[in-house]
Structures are given as C-alpha cells and as structure tokens.
Symmetry: C2
Subunit: 281 residues, 2 copies
Amino acid sequence: MKTFPECIPCFIRQSIQAAKFAGAPPVKQKEIADKIEDYLKNINMEDIPPKTSRNMHIEIRKLLNNEDPYKTVKDKYNAIALSMYDRLKEIVNQAEDKLLTALRIAIAGNVIDFGAQIEFELEQDIKDVAIFDYERLKEKLEKEKEILYLGDNTGETVFDRVFIEEIKKIYNSKIIYAVKESPIINDATKEDAIFAGLDKVAEIISTGCNSPGIVLEYCNKNFIDLFNNSNLIISKGQGNFETLEQEKKSVFFLFKIKCNVVADYLGVPKESIVIYNKFPS
Amino acid sequence: MKTFPECIPCFIRQSIQAAKFAGAPPVKQKEIADKIEDYLKNINMEDIPPKTSRNMHIEIRKLLNNEDPYKTVKDKYNAIALSMYDRLKEIVNQAEDKLLTALRIAIAGNVIDFGAQIEFELEQDIKDVAIFDYERLKEKLEKEKEILYLGDNTGETVFDRVFIEEIKKIYNSKIIYAVKESPIINDATKEDAIFAGLDKVAEIISTGCNSPGIVLEYCNKNFIDLFNNSNLIISKGQGNFETLEQEKKSVFFLFKIKCNVVADYLGVPKESIVIYNKFPS
C-alpha cells in the first residue's frame, strides 16, 4: 500500500502525540510538528506508510532526545491488559465455540489504543467482530502445525496469548511470535511479549526491524526466511496489513480498520473488524 | 479557546480535504498540504482555532484558484437533508414531547458531516442526545420572544428548521437565523438557508464574516449589536462554541464534540452530544 495525502496529517498527529507522551510542553510539541512537516515534504509517496512512519519516528526520537517516548504509556497498557487476563480466560471457558471467542478476543485486543474506557470497548468489540475467513483459518489450523504469528501492540499481546493458548489446546501447534526489534510507537518488543507471558506459550523472535508494521526490507534474514517458508501466518494489526498485503503470500490479517485510507482501500467502513486473506489456499 | 498543537494536523487534514473536494489529484493535494504546513508555522497559537482556519482557507482557495471548493459536496448534502424533511416532521408529530424531539433532531443534524450512512446515524443520534440544560432552555423560551439562532452547516439547516417550526408553534417566537457571509468549508450561507426553507420561518441574516464558527472581530456591526443585545441565543455546532465560549454571554451551545481538543477542554468524551450554557441565567 502506498502513501496517500491523507497519511500526512496522520504522521504529523503522531509526531505531536510522541512529543506529548514524552512530556514535552505544547510549545515544544508545535516545534516538533513544524520540523516533521519539513521532513515529510521530501518523502516518497510510493513508499508504504509504515516505512515512512518508521523513519519519521527516528527523526522524532532524535528531536526529543528520547529513545522511547511511548514508554510510560506502554507500561500502563501492559499492566491494564495483564490485569484483564483472568477475565478473558473466563470468557473463553464459558463460551460454546471457545476458539472463535478467543479469536474475537485477540482482535478486540487490537482495539486497544490510547483511548479510555478499554473495558467497555472490549465487551462491544468481542460481540462486533465480523468473521469472514474463520472456516478457512480453521482448516489451515487443522493442517499446519507451525504458525508464524505477527504481533502488533503492547497490551494486545495479552489478548494474543489467550488466543494462542486456545489454538495450542485444540491443535497442539507450535507458535512463533514475532515482535519489533526495538521500541516504535506502542508496538510490542520482546520485553513486552515476555511481560504478557507469551514466552510460556510461544517462541518469541524479533523481526529485526523497528517499523510499525513489518517492512520486509528492514527485517533480518532469519525473519525473512521464516516469513517466506511459513505455511500459516496470522498477522495482527493494520500496520502489518499495510506493509504485507502486497506480498504474494497467504496471510490471515486480523485487525480493526483505524483510518479512512485503509477503509477506502478495502472498500469497507472505517472501524470495521476484518479477517482478510487474499490468497487463502 | 486557544489553538492546541493537536489542531495543526486537523488544519492540514482540512487543506487536503478541500483540495480533494475541489477535484485536485493526489499530487496536487500533497502540494497544497506542503504549502499550508509552511503557512501554519507562523500562526498565533493564542488565536481561536476557527480564526486560523478562516485565514488558512483563504490561502487554500487562492492555491486552488477556487472560490468554493466544497460547493459540490454542499449541494449534495443540501439535497439529502431536504429530502429528509417530511420524515423528520413525522418523527416530531408522533413524539410525546414534541419540542424535545425537535431539539434532538436539530442536534442530530449537527452530526451531518462528510460521512456516509446519514440515515443510520440520524436514528442513533436522535436517541443518544444527552440533554443537560433542557429545562433551563424551556424557561428561557417561555420568557424571551426573540431568539438569535446561530446556524452551522449546510444540510443541518433543514434540521434546524424542524426545531424552529416547533419553537414557533409552542412559543410564537420570532427567530433570527444567522449564517456566514460567504462560503467557508461546509458552513451554511444565505443561499443554503433559503434552500432549506428557513426563510419561511425566520429572518435570515449574515454575520458578515466567513469563518467557521463566529469570530466576532470579523463580524459586521449589525450582527455584533444583535449578539450583544440578545436575551436568548441558541448556537449550533462546535465551531461556534470554539469562538464564542469565552464571551460573557448566556448562550445555549448545541453540538456534538468532534475532536479530542474540545472533549478534553470540556472534560467529556469525544462524540458526546451537549447542550451547554456557562451563564444560564
């Protein structure tokens, strides 16, 4: 997916958000935005948006002199998400279709962003998930015993764990859970995955890259080989969709559509929750 | 209300939107955004956001060489809204509390923006309006027989008409409906108000200014005098709230909160629908 003009204000919004989360006062936030605007004048609009976002955040971190502006927010969401684990397990255990419920929870976890009222949204989103490729995903789970699972946000990791535990219980699969090499926005790193207890149920690996989404040209050889050779890939989040949708590879994308650009691209309303696979076979 | 750093990406989003609605291709949209970013570097952050927005849109119109980039969209929304008039009247006539229902409809009309699925949202929003100062507004309507009604968007005008007709039926009031002097974003002008049939139920006047919201320093003397001398002012839309909330004047602000800046300012969630009056007496 290339960059659309509408991505520009969203990039600038991110620069202000990063400055704010890093504790910068409003005057400094505006200053960062002004500088990032100049940076964005020279980007390649043919690039996938998360590639630009990754490089822009390197600039932002330099301007803020802060290696992880989102640290405080990430820690908060990690803690909130982990405190919800027992309740999520209870919801799964009481469900008739346990796998489907766990899958819904994993996607609901993708909704965790920087908003308030997480509890409320969770209940809502567990009910609202539109399941498109569920049956095909089940067929694949039956057949393929090794899964490459592409993580997304901090906190969402706890929701992924609930889904992964259910997959393992039913299919006895081996899971490889891929995270970012180093902090970028609120994306999960190895540390965050371990905090969520994912190391108990999956092998945690790094993509080798620190972009939101997975920009293959920035990933390490190990990850690229794994990606190319995997027969079942489950991918979380819009960022991964933006960066991987053009690959000729069967990937189950699980995410909530968070912007009009992607909504228009897929021809569905913003806020839709999708399970999308271009090449399901 | 002053300008917050978060307003900057929103201004830039507006510049891209204007270019898009005017039919500019993506490359031109990005070009406009780049130029507007430079413009925004020198704005006064102490100004109220609609003042900056007004001056920025003068720049945008020059860059696009187009006096009304939103014309096509406005015409479309005018037509859609007018086609809903009979149904809105029916909803009011079947209601137990007709005034309250008409009031809800007027606020629901504020939700009309550039989204799809207007029908659906209307049903939802008519139910969801949170009424805070309804009783006090009724007391005022009982006492004051001349109302200055500050309009907002094109299309919303039809919804205002339904509310105004109900007010006139019950209180026999005289209504002065204020609109923008010339096109700005999707705000209603005299032409739009007449299209909605407001001239049949109100005296339509111009504020003399072409900013979103009502920036008093840009308004004509007639409007400023009227504003200062009115005993009952009903104001529609967030823009009017942003520009008039700091005035020491009893104004009933009816609007849906469309951004986080105003939501944080009022301490309520985004998307809230409010009837707000700082000085109700």
